[in-house]
């Protein structure tokens, strides 16, 4: 900052003043001209019939791409609102119901082939008619393209699948091996028109649903407009607007204040009778015990852990009673749910005895176990981890807590597991949205399952057998698998079947179901005092 002249030019004080003025005016300009705020669109007018339904989510959907709808944050907006599948599963009964397909059938002679009758008179929001060709295109796009769609991995794994439209109203799907639950799998495929790109994922999709994307203001809101040409019953609200707030207390405050009609996932301490309703959300929490590392490789230690957990205490104080102690990984309503299993009783004395016994046999019970949980996995997850840590310490185990973010948690959740992690007790939350224990077993119970640390050949065998049957036999077979895992493997110390809390303004009427967290059907929401029958045709 040196100048060479002896008497350097100096700015007059006027110039300094001018620069201050410039600063101030720039600031004002910045604040008034930029587009973030002050762009109210008056759509806030309330939730009367024909008005706007205001929904507040926990986070902005990363995309609205239908083939990513198995991502909760995407699906909650897309599924059954913007796009629809061929078949829908009743979240409560588990029954499959026709939607864009009016009927379906597995071929008698060739169990690898299924045919679907396509509903007529349905148009996409862009005006194009919906045909079997669109359905075939969608399935092909979701499963066989290079898009790496979430639904592909989540529902279909590495299944071979070909879809073909034999006429405008008839679709044939062929699988490599016979698949008794193909219709259930297809209920996850949201139908898009043929014109959708196969090269890239779309951010704002076109579908056949009751609402169409009107505007997505990145970071601020997504607005859906009622699809006036919808083939089914017209929804009550002409518009729906989603916003997102990360803090549960703010979402609750928005309901209390009347700024939102529906709020996703409230924490128990923010929920009141007036602003929320609880609903079972199909999620089950448990500790997954790494059976390959001492001392967790000893089944007595694993059983002791199960005995040491005060499930009733945790459910009552931490979950405010909005959960049920669990005895298995799947909740009631899922095919394979075993009614005869009951939660392990809280018995620290017995647990301690088991640990002592193991210690006497040379099991290094004082080796440090890492209890890994994920931040904001569910409300009060940190407190839950602390309670578990304390209860396990009470029976003489050496446990430390490690809270992680999603990415780090996934490294422990999915094979290949991190090396040198030592014995890990992973706090998992498993949601079986498909309603069939096969999805649980293949992931969590197989010895080499992607989310399983160990197993037995015997258990693998039973799972394979159960997967091949259908109907009541399937139920019994999977129920048996779950019992068997408890008795001989005991990889999991179950915690609870969770319930969600949906923020609901008194001005709207809506009844959440187990799928609400993944699929919030706007068409089922109506202004209070005007309860609409759920369309369950």
């Amino acid at each position: 900052m040196t100048t060479k002249s002896a008497v350097p030019p100096t700015p007059s004080p006027g110039r300094a003043r001018a620069s201050l003025a410039a600063l101030v005016s720039t600031t004002l300009l910045l604040t008034s001209a930029c587009a973030v705020a002050n762009s109210g669109d008056g759509g806030d007018a309330g939730s009367g019939a024909g008005g706007t339904l205001r929904v507040v989510l926990g986070q902005e959907p990363p995309t609205l791409e239908p083939c990513e709808a198995s991502l909760t944050s995407t699906g909650v907006v897309v599924r059954s609102n913007i796009t629809e599948p061929l078949i829908e599963r009743d979240p409560t009964s588990g029954e499959l119901l026709p939607l864009l397909a009016t009927g379906w059938q597995q071929s008698e002679e060739d169990p690898t082939t299924w045919t679907f009758d396509i509903r007529e008179g349905v148009t996409f929001q862009n005006g194009e008619p919906f045909t079997a060709e669109d359905a075939a295109f969608t399935i092909d796009r979701a499963v066989n393209s290079d898009l790496a769609c979430n639904v592909d991995g989540y529902v279909f794994g590495d299944m071979e699948l070909t879809a073909e439209a034999t006429s405008t109203t008839r679709l044939t799907v062929t699988t490599g091996d016979p698949d008794p639950i193909l219709p259930l799998r297809l209920s996850f495929v949201e139908i898009v028109p043929r014109t959708t790109s196969t090269e890239a994922k779309v951010r704002e999709p076109v579908g056949t649903g009751p609402y169409a994307v009107a505007e997505w203001r990145t970071g601020i809101s997504i607005t859906l407009r009622r699809n006036e040409d919808y083939w089914g019953e017209a929804p009550a609200y002409s518009t729906a607007r989603y916003v997102w707030r990360a803090e549960s207390s703010v979402r609750a405050a928005m309901i209390d204040r009347g700024e939102a009609d529906i709020a996703a996932a409230l924490d128990p301490e923010d929920a009141t009778e007036e602003n929320s309703v609880p609903y079972p959300n199909n999620e089950t929490t448990a500790l997954r015990l790494d059976g390959t590392e001492a001392p967790l490789d000893d089944i007595r230690v694993r059983r002791a852990i199960s005995l040491a957990i005060d499930r009733d205490g945790i459910v009552d104080t931490l979950f405010d009673g909005e959960a049920d102690p669990a005895a298995q990984l799947v909740p009631r309503g899922v095919v394979g749910f075993n009614d005869e299993l009951s939660p392990t009783p809280y018995d620290p004395a017995a647990a301690r005895a088991l640990v002592d016994e193991a210690a006497a046999d040379g099991v290094p019970v004082d080796r440090r176990i890492t209890l890994i949980a994920r931040n904001s996995q569910f409300p009060r997850v940190a407190e839950t981890a602390e309670a578990l840590q304390y209860q396990l310490a009470e029976i003489g185990l050496n446990v430390r807590i490690r809270m992680t973010d999603t990415a780090a948690h996934l490294q422990y959740q999915l094979r290949p597991f991190p090396e040198d992690a030592g014995p890990v007790a992973l706090l998992i939350m498993h949601g079986n949205q498909a309603g069939d224990a096969a999805f649980t077993a293949s992931q969590y119970l197989l010895a080499e399952g992607p989310q399983s640390t160990f197993g037995t050949p015997d258990l693998d065998q039973r799972i394979a057998e159960a997967d091949a049957v259908a109907g009541p036999a399937r139920q019994d077979a999977f129920a048996d698998v779950l019992t068997h895992q408890d008795e001989t493997v005991a990889q999991y110390a179950y915690l609870a079947h969770m319930r969600g809390l949906l923020g609901l303004s008194p001005s709207v009427s809506y009844e959440p179901d187990p799928a609400t967290g993944d699929e919030l059907r706007l068409a089922e929401v109506s202004p209070a005092g005007d309860p609409r029958p759920r369309d369950e045709d």
């Binding site: 900052m1 930029c34 989540y154 707030r245 703010v250 990415a407």
Partner: protein
């Protein structure tokens, strides 16, 4: 001045490169995004394919080289999470943060000068003690705490202000700004007070008084400008803090700013967005520092010219 500016800008390029480099490597240390973006049951081939598609299969130096090549062409890559252009996402988010930061700092500086000067005028008086206590308390309130209490009181109980969001009139600014304001205000009041006490006891203030200058002239005409240097420095640092992300405020009030974007992209291992965001904020911060230096020079001639021996 132009020479100075040119040198400053040139000398900023290398640290900027280091920032980019550091972020690039640290981000990759933070973990593999493959698991986050692929379905839980993705096969090995799918993983390999995903990695190859995004270049994660290459060595880090190779990735870095490619990235730098892209940056030179102003191509910041694509978000893993949303599929949008990272540069675009960052540019969309930045104005929200800048607006918050600018409004906050203008208010904080003006208010702090006022309160700090009043406090410094009579050191240790009741007014001084009270305003200092106020400032210190303000500076030590956790911001998320303040924000949530603010929402509960003004949003829910009193219904004076909207709870959150960016849709609406000027009232939506109140709580976010107030939350951001408390700390800079608290810190700046103390800085202003300190340097004003020093300035007011300087001999030239006595000289000004001996010329019959009014107290207002003494305080604002003579002392204040001398007291500006430390205030400017601290205000610059505080602004940097705000530009680098008002994460808490953006998270709670749902402001689509760069802080929220950055933390999201960190948690989601969305490298392209993270790198673009850091690059943009880093450039802004470097520019801000240059502005502060220039302001110093404008205010104090001694910075411009060497002191005569």
């Amino acid at each position: 001045m132009t020479v100075f500016l040119r040198n400053r800008i040139a000398s900023s390029a290398i640290p900027l490169l280091f920032v980019v480099l550091g972020v690039f490597c640290l981000a990759r240390l933070a973990g593999d995004p493959v698991d986050l973006y692929l379905p839980l049951s993705a096969t090995e081939e799918q993983r390999a394919e995903f990695s190859a598609a995004h270049g994660f299969d290459q060595s880090i130096p190779a990735q870095l080289w490619d990235y730098l090549g892209q940056v030179v062409r102003l191509d910041f890559g694509e978000s893993l999470r949303t599929g949008q252009s990272a540069g675009e996402m960052v540019l969309t988010a930045f104005p929200a943060t800048l607006q918050l930061a600018a409004v906050t700092m203008v208010i904080a500086v003006l208010a702090a000068i006022l309160v700090g000067s009043v406090a410094a005028y009579r050191p240790n008086s009741a007014v001084d003690r009270f305003s200092s206590l106020l400032a210190m308390t303000a500076a030590s309130i956790p911001d998320f705490w303040f924000a949530i209490v603010g929402v509960l009181i003004f949003g829910v109980s009193l219904e004076w202000l909207p709870t959150s969001g960016v849709i609406g009139g000027p009232e939506i600014w109140v709580l976010p700004i107030a939350t951001l304001l408390i700390r800079p205000f608290g810190v700046l009041v103390q800085v202003v007070r300190g340097s004003m006490v020093a300035a007011l006891s300087a001999p030239y203030v006595k000289v000004a008084r001996s010329k019959g200058a009014s107290e207002r002239r003494v305080v604002f005409g003579h002392a204040l400008r001398n007291a500006t240097t430390p205030v400017l420095t601290v205000a610059g640092d505080l602004t940097i803090g705000l530009v680098n992300g008002a994460v808490v405020v953006e998270t709670i009030f749902g402001w689509p700013g760069i802080g929220k974007l950055m933390i999201d992209s960190i948690l989601q291992r969305d490298f392209a967005v993270l790198q673009a965001a850091v690059l943009l904020t880093a450039v802004t911060i470097f520019a801000l520092n240059i502005v502060v230096d220039v302001a110093h020079a404008l205010i104090d001639a001694r910075v411009r010219q060497p002191v005569q021996a």
